[in-house]
Structures are given as structure tokens and as C-alpha cells.
């Protein structure tokens, strides 16, 4: 915006924006003032912190990978499929985005705890227990992260000119080839953004994880769970780990800069 544009902005807009900005910035400034810089390195390299960092990285990457692998066909179906069931399907897929995470955790528990039919069957047949396991933490994170990938990719697929696929077909490409050689390369940037968003959401997951997978050191105690636990024992360490999550979030925003802009 040029200088004149700034001058002409109404005071009401400026006041409203200031309130909104303060809402976001003040807590972050507060966090920064609570950081004990002298022990920051120690706090971040303690065994508990490193365990949580390692586990968080692993679980969130796996959850993002699941979102990409399972979410790509789903996004395709939502963007290209026909029929009335589609909006219902989209609603279902979006649900975890607006559902309180703790409710997601209760739902996961109802479906996969040892006392549930599926959870009981998994345990009796394969000896697999999802509750209190890393697999359970990944599942909880994938549950909340999946919609972020699907929505982003579906939007990109919809904005493509359907004529492109027809052109490819008229040149002799089959449907699969048209998808692979023409469509996927075009939506790759959006898919990457979606994957990063899904990963970031998975990294920050707390409610569903703690409810479904518990808080087990080295197995399900990811960064957000470690922060919550450390708040009561070692606030400096909790603040230090929070700082890591803020830094990661900032990097994600910077990395995705411009990708969210509406294409005209």
C-alpha cells in the first residue's frame, strides 16, 4: 500500500486492527519476557526436552505423511466426484477442524480403546494397542491434521481448468496419465502447503493426544504435552519449549507466505 493509502485509512479500521494485533502480539511478547535466556540452552537440551522434541518431530511427520497419502485421493474425490453425497463427505472430513480436540480424543477412545469392538479386535488379533502408544499419538495427530491437507488440495484441484485434462485426453493421454503428468504437477505447490499446514497442526496437537494416547514419557509425551506437564514443575523449561513451538509456527508462516493469497 502506498503512503496516501495509509493516510486515507479510516481511524475505525486502524483502531480495530490495533485491537486485533494486540490480541495476537501481546501474549507472544509476554512469552518472550518470561524466557530465562541464561538457562535456555540447558532447558532445551535436557533429556525430557530432547525426548519430547524427537517424539514430536517423528509423530507429526508421520501424521503429515498419512494425511498426504490418504488425503490426496480423498481431495481428488471431493474435487472431481459427482453426486449429492459429496457435500456430506466434505462436511465429515472437515469435522475434526472445528471439533474440540478433546472430543476427538474421546471419540478415538470410544473407537479404539481395548474395550471398544475395533480396539479389542486389534488387540486380540494383532496384539496391537493404540492407547498409550506412539501409534496412538500419531493417529490422534493425523485425525486433526488430515482436513488441513484435504481442504488445501481440494481447493487447488477445483481451481484448475477442467479443459486441461480434456486437452491431455485429446492428445492421447489416459485418465491416470493426465492426472499424473498434467494435474498433479500443477497442484504440487498447493499440496506442499497443505502438507506443511497439516504437519504444523499435528505438531501442536494436545487435546486429542492426551485424551487418547495419554502422557507417557518417550512414547506419547510430545512437545505440547511436555509443556503442560512442565508448567507445574519447571516453568522456565515449559516457556523454553513453548518458544520452540512459536519459532516453528513462525517458520511455517514465512515458508507459506503468499501461498494463502487468493488467486484472481
Amino acid at each position: 500500500m502506498n503512503r496516501r493509502g495509509v493516510e486515507r485509512t479510516s481511524p475505525l479500521v486502524l483502531a480495530g486492527s490495533a485491537v486485533a494485533l494486540a490480541l495476537v502480539v501481546l501474549p507472544l511478547v509476554g512469552l518472550l519476557t518470561r524466557v530465562r535466556w541464561s538457562t535456555l540452552a540447558e532447558d532445551l537440551t535436557s533429556r525430557a526436552a530432547l525426548d519430547a522434541l524427537r517424539l514430536s518431530l517423528m509423530c507429526s511427520l508421520l501424521a503429515a505423511a498419512i494425511s498426504v497419502v490418504a488425503g490426496t485421493p480423498l481431495a481428488w474425490l471431493l474435487a472431481r466426484g459427482r453426486g449429492r453425497g459429496r457435500s456430506l463427505l466434505r462436511g465429515l472430513v472437515l469435522l475434526p477442524m472445528v471439533l474440540p480436540p478433546v472430543v476427538g480424543g474421546v471419540a478415538l477412545l470410544s473407537a479404539f480403546s481395548l474395550r471398544s469392538p475395533i480396539g479389542g479386535w486389534l488387540h486380540d488379533t494383532f496384539g496391537l494397542q493404540l492407547t498409550f502408544s506412539t501409534a496412538g499419538a500419531v493417529l490422534a495427530e493425523a485425525f486433526v491434521a488430515l482436513p488441513f491437507f484435504v481442504v488445501t488440495l481440494e481447493g487447488a484441484l477445483r481451481s484448475l481448468d477442467p479443459g486441461l485434462e480434456e486437452d491431455a485426453a485429446s492428445l492421447g493421454a489416459g485418465r491416470a496419465m493426465a492426472a499424473r503428468r498434467v494435474v498433479l504437477p500443477l497442484v504440487a505447490p498447493a499440496a506442499a502447503s497443505g502438507a506443511v499446514l497439516a504437519w504444523a497442526r499435528a505438531l501442536g496437537e494436545f487435546g486429542a493426544t492426551v485424551t487418547f494416547a495419554g502422557n507417557v514419557e518417550g512414547r506419547t509425551r510430545t512437545l505440547p504435552l511436555a509443556v503442560a506437564l512442565l508448567l507445574e514443575s519447571d516453568r522456565d523449561a515449559a516457556v523454553a519449549l513453548s518458544l520452540v513451538l512459536v519459532a516453528v509456527s513462525l517458520v511455517v508462516i514465512v515458508a507459506l507466505r503468499g501461498r494463502w493469497a487468493v488467486r484472481r
Binding site: 475505525l12 480495530g16 486492527s17 474395550r115 498409550f132 502422557n215 506419547t220 514443575s233
Partner: protein, 267 residues
């Protein structure tokens, strides 16, 4: 560009309108809830250990009945989390802790009004999912059985007591087999609703979920108890009412309620 900016202005005005109307709505709602006596309700804010949930809910009702126009607002969590909140400036009138360490922290910070008073003692029970699927019959089994054991977070009173009990019994549970509940009730839920094979919770908590749990008595360390204390806070927003609630809890009515919930009498 002008159109776009007009749209932005409209959006901001819209958001502000919602905000202001919403805020006004809140203020408007207040008189409706006011009792017909014409006086504004006095809020009495109580932070209490999660294990006190049912007892304090009953006592709050009793207090409200005895003091018309008083609204007792209860917050339950681990005593450690609650004490942290008070140290951070939470406007609380009365603090009821599952241990003596947390009231001491507040006293050292100069936040308490007088000495904390012992109101009860509590001890731990080992709980297992109903039917005891893992076949736990002794504390020592926790070290060897397969599956996850639910304990309270190390810094909260029930976690400290669990550490004392396990130490005394010479039992070590590997850290990667322990799920930590943020407070006594979260730990209870890990066994009652979750899939932990066993957990150490207060006997009073075990009684709350007795349809979902079986209790395995801990016989090896009978003397491990924690003392619960209550204290009014110096800057209590509700003033003298705080002391009155403490009196109710310490007095015969409060004590009867706590005994009924399974708490032991204070020493």
C-alpha cells in the same frame, strides 16, 4: 482498490459490532440472574484439589443456601496447578490443597490469610479396570506386568504420594510404561475410561468410579497419607466470606461431608 478497502472497513466494523454487542449482551444478562433481594450476588471463588470435587460441590451448595446472594465458584485441578495460578495473581478467596506443600508455597509468598488448617487426610489405592484383566494383586506387579500404569504427574500431590509409596515398597516402574495424569481425576480416568492396566489414585477417587474399577488394597505401605489443608487468601475478593467458608469446611458439617466421601480425619 477502493472497493476492496470498503469491504475491509465493512468487515472490521462488522467484527467490532459483534464484539461490542456481545460485550453489551454480557452486561445486560447480569441483572436477570440477580436474586430478587435486589443485592448483587457476591462471588466466592474457591480453588480446590481435584480429589475434593464431590465434597466441595456439596459444601458449596450448603454455603450458598446459608448465605443467600452468594455464588460459590469452584475450580478443580491439581493443587500444584491451582497454587501456581494463585501465585500468578488469580483472584481466589479460598484454597483447598491435597497436600501441605502448596499452602506453604502461598504462605511464603505472603498470599495467605492466617495459617492453613488441616481438614482431612487421604491415602492411595491401586485401581484396575473392572474385572482386573491384567491380574494385578500386589504393588510389586506394577514393575513387571505388561501395559501402561497411570500415575499422577510427579509434581502434584498424588504423584508425590505415589512416588513415596512405590519407593517404600521398593517398586520401580519404567518411565516409558507410565502415563501421567495432570491431576488425580485425570489419572483415574486413564484407568476408568482408558486402557491403563492399573493406576495409583486416592481411595476417595477410586470410590467415585467404583462401577468401572476394582480396588486392589495396598497392604505393604499402610502409613503413606497426604494431609489436606484449607486456607483463606489474604487478598480474598469476597473478604470475610472466605473465612466463613473455611469455618464451614473445618466445622462439623464440612468434616461430616469429607468423612462421607471417604477422607480420613486430620491428625
Amino acid at each position: 482498490m477502493t472497493d476492496r478497502r470498503r469491504a475491509v472497513t465493512a468487515g472490521v466494523v462488522g467484527a467490532l459490532t459483534v464484539f461490542i454487542v456481545g460485550a453489551a449482551g454480557c452486561t445486560d444478562a447480569d441483572p436477570v440472574e440477580r436474586p430478587t433481594t435486589g443485592t448483587a450476588p457476591t462471588e466466592l471463588t474457591v480453588s480446590a484439589a481435584a480429589s475434593l470435587t464431590e465434597s466441595f460441590e456439596a459444601l458449596a451448595e450448603r454455603f450458598e443456601a446459608d448465605h443467600p446472594g452468594t455464588d460459590v465458584v469452584l475450580t478443580f485441578d491439581s493443587s500444584t496447578a491451582l497454587a501456581d495460578q494463585i501465585l500468578e495473581g488469580a483472584p481466589v478467596d479460598v484454597f483447598a490443597s491435597a497436600d501441605t506443600a502448596n499452602p506453604t508455597r502461598l504462605a511464603e509468598a505472603g498470599l495467605t490469610d492466617g495459617e492453613a488448617v488441616a481438614i482431612a487426610r487421604n491415602r492411595l489405592a491401586m485401581v484396575v479396570p473392572a474385572g482386573n484383566p491384567a491380574g494385578v494383586d500386589d504393588l510389586a506387579d506394577l514393575a513387571t506386568l505388561e501395559g501402561t500404569v497411570a500415575l499422577c504427574a510427579e509434581e502434584v500431590p498424588c504423584g508425590k504420594l505415589a512416588a513415596t509409596v512405590l519407593d517404600a515398597a521398593g517398586v520401580t516402574v519404567a518411565a516409558d510404561r507410565v502415563t501421567r495424569g495432570q491431576n488425580a481425576r485425570a489419572t483415574l480416568a486413564a484407568v476408568a475410561d482408558g486402557d491403563a492396566v492399573a493406576g495409583l489414585v486416592y481411595v476417595t477417587d477410586a470410590a467415585v468410579a467404583d462401577d468401572l474399577l476394582d480396588v486392589v488394597p495396598i497392604e505393604s505401605v499402610p502409613d503413606a497419607t497426604t494431609e489436606l489443608q484449607v486456607v483463606a487468601l489474604r487478598d480474598a475478593p469476597a473478604g470475610a466470606l472466605a473465612a466463613e467458608l473455611v469455618e464451614l469446611i473445618v466445622g462439623p458439617v464440612g468434616q461430616a461431608e469429607l468423612r462421607r466421601a471417604g477422607f480420613l480425619s486430620p491428625r
